[in-house]
């Protein structure tokens, strides 16, 4: 019972955050809803006994990725274009597709007869470390290369090279 209550405590905010982002118009507010969602998912990890993962989720995601996104919002917030909304036809179509996808997936999930395996006991970071350096050594090395490449690539890409063209196309300034 208590487990169910805690699950709801975390699950409801994630969905609310999603809906709020869909309906909201303010970008900064959207970013904060994202942070709320990430923290709630982190809470769900704690609930499932994945403590290490929960901590990582909050540290990397909330501390890193979300803040990065907020920075991105601020860097590009000099919003010159008018309201960026999709057309009405697209909205209707999207709603229909989303509902169909949701319905189909929920139905297919509901059809599955779950076989309860052994419940994994809460684990220590040491076990995760063994897993990463053991079975997942190959992916781990790949991930490190990926991070390096992403870092270099981002540094290269973000370097301003071309003069900025204002939307009127009249005056050119170099950032």
């Amino acid at each position: 019972m208590l487990e169910k209550a805690i699950f709801l405590l975390f699950a409801v905010p994630t969905v609310v955050a999603g809906v709020a982002i869909l309906l909201s118009k303010n970008i900064v507010r959207m970013a904060f809803w994202l942070i709320a969602m990430l923290i709630a998912v982190g809470g769900l990890y704690f609930l499932m006994g994945a403590y290490f993962l929960g901590v990582i989720q909050i540290m990397v995601y909330v501390g890193g990725v979300a803040v990065l996104l907020v920075f991105g919002v601020m860097l590009t917030s000099r919003q010159l274009a008018p309201k960026l909304r999709p057309g009405p036809m697209e909205t209707v179509w999207l709603a229909a597709v989303s509902m169909a996808l949701l319905l189909g997936l929920v139905l297919s999930v509901a059809q599955v007869r779950w076989v309860q395996g052994p419940i994994a006991s809460p684990n220590s970071p040491a076990e995760i470390g063994h897993s990463v350096m053991g079975d997942f050594l190959g992916p781990f090395e790949l991930a490190s290369v990926l991070l390096l490449v992403a870092m270099l690539g981002a540094a290269y890409l973000a370097r301003p090279k071309v003069p900025v063209q204002s939307p009127e196309g009249s005056k050119e300034t170099t950032i």
Partner: protein, 101 residues
């Protein structure tokens, strides 16, 4: 004792919400937010099955990799969008329909 079912349903919800955000928002950075939703939906699934199905740590480790890849993706995508912004001074993703550099 709850099975993995509620987690999977929640993950479906997150997936559809993320997809809707990615498609409906024309602001490039908000699209990234939608992608984060989708990635979290996947990771939630992995952890839930790791706890209730497999009974070992492989799902959690995979979720760890999801976080790694999500951060890498966010960094690169942001860099691309900043470049895009520098070039045509907007974050409206629909303006990027030239299919050329």
């Amino acid at each position: 004792m709850m099975g993995p079912m509620p987690y999977v349903i929640l993950s479906v919800l997150l997936l559809v919400l993320g997809l809707a955000i990615v498609i409906s928002k024309r602001n490039a950075i908000v699209m990234l937010i939608g992608v984060e939703f989708i990635l979290n939906a996947a990771a939630l699934n992995l952890v839930a099955f790791s706890r209730h199905g497999a009974g070992d740590l492989s799902g959690q480790t995979a979720a760890l990799f999801v976080i790694v890849i999500a951060s890498a993706e966010a960094v690169v995508a942001l860099a691309i969008f900043l470049n895009f912004y520098h070039r045509i001074a907007t974050v409206d993703i629909d303006r990027g329909d030239q299919l050329r550099g």
